[in-house]
């Protein structure tokens, strides 16, 4: 059992955000990327975050994923106030609880698809055989078992993104965050990737939080919230 076991609040929310603000200093001018946002995300939900550039959607995603810290307010994920963890605890927490999918795939070019997926498991105590089993399962889930020995440059964009999803899933995290995962893909590949993310939510019970500009992509989610100038337009705690 991991150090950070799955904990939900009384509403069944895996993510509970209260009066969350993020203020950046641009010279002497404070810029509010997020302004007193409150939001609950239920376990197994496929939430899409939409909004214009600079609306704060990526900042919100980063704070939920524990790679950025709020200026004010609280962000509890599985009962853990992420902002209170130190750097080392946050790293462990992310490894065990969050899977990341980025717009530009970000696979390590010198590693094969298998090795890229295996990367997060190198930080665990798992034996080699167990790591292999988990990587095989993750690659099978995204339909790329036959591409395990390929380097990223030998894969199409859609396949690279599916490898990135497999890497996000391999540690069996409760939450998968995806920052514009279809932004660099053609419509066919985008559809494949979104289908995989949707099935993660529906069939594997993962909580998927995705930032997107594309309403067609957002339609794959179970709920969409809109942000503008750091505030929620139609979200509810």
């Amino acid at each position: 059992m991991s150090e950070f076991s799955l904990m939900l609040d009384e509403n069944g929310a895996i993510v509970s955000i209260r009066k969350l603000s993020k203020i950046y200093e641009q010279g002497d001018t404070p810029i509010a990327a997020l302004n007193r946002i409150s939001l609950d995300i239920k376990a197994g939900e496929f939430l899409t975050l939409m909004g214009p550039s600079g609306s704060g959607k990526s900042t919100l995603l980063h704070i939920i994923a524990g790679i950025d810290r709020p200026s004010e307010g609280e962000c509890r994920v599985q009962g853990v106030d992420v902002a209170r963890l130190n750097e080392s605890q946050l790293a462990d927490w992310r490894n065990q609880n969050v899977g990341f999918v980025f717009q530009t795939f970000n696979l390590i070019p010198v590693l094969t698809a298998f090795e890229n997926v295996e990367l997060p498991l190198l930080l665990t105590q798992l034996a080699r055989a167990e790591r292999r089993r988990q990587v095989d399962t993750a690659l099978e889930l995204v339909g790329l078992s036959d591409r395990a020995r390929h380097l990223p440059r030998q894969l199409s964009g859609g396949q690279e993104q599916r490898v990135a999803i497999a890497r996000a899933l391999v540690t069996d995290p409760a939450i998968v965050v995806a920052d514009e995962p279809t932004g660099n893909l053609d419509s066919h590949s985008a559809h494949d990737v979104l289908t995989v993310l949707q099935s993660l939510s529906r069939e594997a019970g993962k909580t998927v939080i995705m930032v997107t500009h594309d309403p067609k992509a957002a339609a794959f989610g179970s709920r969409t919230i809109h942000l503008e100038k750091g505030e929620l337009l139609n979200g509810s705690p």
Partner: protein, 381 residues
Amino acid sequence: MTIGSFIFKNALRNKRRATLSILSVAVSLFLLVALQVALREITLPPEDIGAALRVAVRNKLSLANPLPARQLPIIERIPGVEAVSPFSWFGGKYKNEENMTFAQFAMDAKKLRRIFGEAKMTEAEYRDFEETKDSCIIGKITAEKYKLRIGDRITLESTIYPCALTFRIAGIYSGTIDDRNMLFHQEYLDEGCDTQGSVGMWWLRVKSIEDMPKVTEAINRAFANSSAEVRAESERAFQLSFISMMGNVKVFVASISSVVVFTLVLVSASTMSMAVRERLRELAILKAIGFRRRELFTLILAESFGLAMAGALLGIGGAYSLFTYGNIPKMTHGIFVVFEVTPKIMAVAGLVAAGLGVIASIAPSVSVARMSVVNGLKTLD
């Protein structure tokens, strides 16, 4: 996959840069080893027992000032002295060569075996040399260099005296610390050139190590306040003072070595910084998926250390192979003879490489540790 294979693949991802980086470390360490070996050879103290019993006596003013030949009987009478021989620099040029390529000294041939007993020759060669006034003996290196054989005649034109002398080679010796020199009779020099009853310096052998301080002190005292005051000292002290006359070689070599190491640090640090800067987004991803600062530092350190040690293996190994199995006297035209790469020199060079690997990784590691995941990811877009 293991962390080790991940580091290995990362280190070799840009093969050209990795190769150039390894080569720059290798060449610099090769140079460092060569400098240290050269310094050791120049300052190498004589270690044979004969050397411990030998005393050099030179003019107190400088080595260039001659000494009167009449000092000989006075030195010979000093208690503890076993044998004394003049030792006069001839400074001869061989054939039409512009510079002198090997040293020639005039001495008392009959004292050779007693004072410089380590020279290996046959009994017949020794006897021929001792008995024939116009004969000479030469070191094996010089003989091989000029393809000289016993019985050959060679003519040398002196740059010290206004004369040229022709010698017959009576023997070819080996086994000394420097098998390049030529030795001939002081008597032949006195007769053939106008030495005006002077010699270059005296070499003598004392009866025991205990006699050494008493003898040197007695010799110095014997000629104090004379027209040719002398400085008598052990062979080791003489060699060290002789080296110091050429300038502070140690400081010079140490300065060059420091510059080599410093440049190497800059090159390696720059290479590692470049390698890490190119990979900031990947390192941000690694941070995002759970790699902690110390794990990222380990990755960078191991890569830097690995490249430095690969360079060390190539550079130090190359120097060891070349200097151990190569013909150094031939390669250096007889300037260096032994050129031994000692374990100590290899260890020092290895430590320099290890330090280099660590130092080169510090700056990129600090920048990666300070980089937030979000800022690292921003380099993506």
